[in-house]
Symmetry: C2
Subunit: 277 residues, 2 copies
């Protein structure tokens, strides 16, 4: 059964990458003016900023800082690079603390020069290493399964089942899972795995956008809600039935939409969010 | 464990689409000259030909006609279009008979304007309808699971598990499954599902190519064996352990490789087949 209709913007969060042409200061002001209640911050948006002050600015604009996107990318054939990835993940935990968010989304990574099994092992090992620091900082790490078309070099965790397996194996309150409809919509086992994710207390984030036909680019041709074939309402229904009541985060990478007037785009996001999500 | 090395071309089959710039007559001559032993014929290659004579030409060149590629595309929201798909599938069965091959590969289809569940139902219904004619013609229909990035409009069957489920539900000697490494390499359940496929007598075809990093196009940027991250030897090992001893079919769609000199490309295919498959 589809979820109940969304009647307001109280659960609407937008990722800074969605309106990439805007600086984080512009995004904060414009999201706030338009009644958006949450923001997820991509790390590139924080470059050359005082992170604490930026966090304060977001809160001053009435925005909940839902998560920091993204760290991860643990696997590498070279030990030195795996070590560098750990350092970067620890840095992300510091950044999240300074920013004032309690969630980091992990894009787990994959190295095409080694097997998926090896990459998966290195992901789990990497998360284990950074887990104590996350716990100490009061920050949850959300494993995000990525669409199988990213299995070569972005994530060796490609189904919600795998993310659930990993989260349950790590067995910590500082571990969760991020469900993005773009990555998982095709999965015949999705309803069941969403349920399992909730039952185990791991359902930590919900990302939305749409899958366009045709999709012209593997990375930057996501559609906004309603432009594609994903039944977002159905998946939101499953996610809410599984106990999730957090933000619905609009995360869209689109070369085409980034070229549009971002104010117009933001209006369309609000409209489509209420209509199709 | 990886498969034993390939020492000769006795199991090498190439799809006509792989060397798309060549007519089927050119492909027949050049494959034959280079010692290729099998050919899979794409239906577009038969346009404006006498199909029986073309089949004879292929056999005269010492080529096994491994399969006809492709029919399927059963799902559609409109009944009239589903009916048209059935007609086209029956035509494909006739073409396969005339050509003299005992296998048709099914790209099952999907309609982005309806749910995947509905598309999956329509696929199974469609196959059921054409099954008696396939049986009468002595032709096997191989369900090919397609990569999840094609779930919108090419196939709602996206994992080998789903293909196995469907083949087992249809429960006929005229039904099989085609395993293409490009579509299934990322699947954590692959080894197990290949085993199951063989145990149930459904492992009917094995297609090879490679997944490049980066992949620049969802459709036409496949790599040749060795150019990417797929461990073809490992998957071939599983496929052979599951009882398959048919052709290894090179199926590559690549705008870049189609622009190359096709004789040079064919030499590289042979070399890479022995080295990386």
């Amino acid at each position: 059964m589809d979820a109940k209709p969304l009647n307001d913007l109280s659960q609407l969060c937008i990722h800074t990458i969605t309106t990439k042409p805007w600086s984080i200061e512009e995004a904060a002001k414009n999201f706030s003016t338009e009644g958006v209640k949450g923001i997820t911050v991509w790390r590139d948006a924080l470059a050359n900023r005082n992170i604490k002050q930026t966090g304060q600015l977001l809160r001053d604009n009435g925005l909940n800082i839902v998560s920091l996107c993204r760290s991860g990318f643990f696997p590498n054939k070279e030990k030195q690079k795996r070590k560098a990835a750990i350092d970067d993940n620890l840095k992300a935990i510091e950044e999240a603390s300074e920013l004032g968010t309690a969630l980091i989304v992990l894009v787990c990574g994959a190295d095409p020069s080694q097997s998926l099994e090896e990459s998966r092992k290195q992901i789990q090992e990497g998360i284990k290493i950074i887990l104590p620091q996350a716990k100490a900082a009061g920050i949850k790490l959300a494993i995000e399964p990525l669409h199988p078309m990213y299995a070569d070099n972005r994530s060796a965790v490609n189904t919600l089942e795998q993310a659930n397996d990993m989260a349950e194996a790590l067995n910590s309150k500082s571990i969760g899972v991020a469900v993005d409809v773009y990555h998982v919509w095709w999965d015949p086992d999705l309803e069941q795995q969403v349920k399992r994710c909730g039952q185990n207390g791991n359902l930590s984030a919900f990302h939305i956008c749409d899958w366009k036909t045709p999709t012209l680019d593997l990375l930057n041709d996501r559609g906004q809600m309603g432009e594609g074939c994903i039944n977002i309402k159905q998946i939101r229904g499953w996610v809410e039935d599984a106990g999730f009541n957090g933000f619905n985060e609009v995360e869209i990478f689109s070369s085409a939409l980034w070229k549009e007037d971002q104010h117009h785009f933001l209006h369309k996001i609000k409209e489509n969010y209420l209509k199709y999500s």
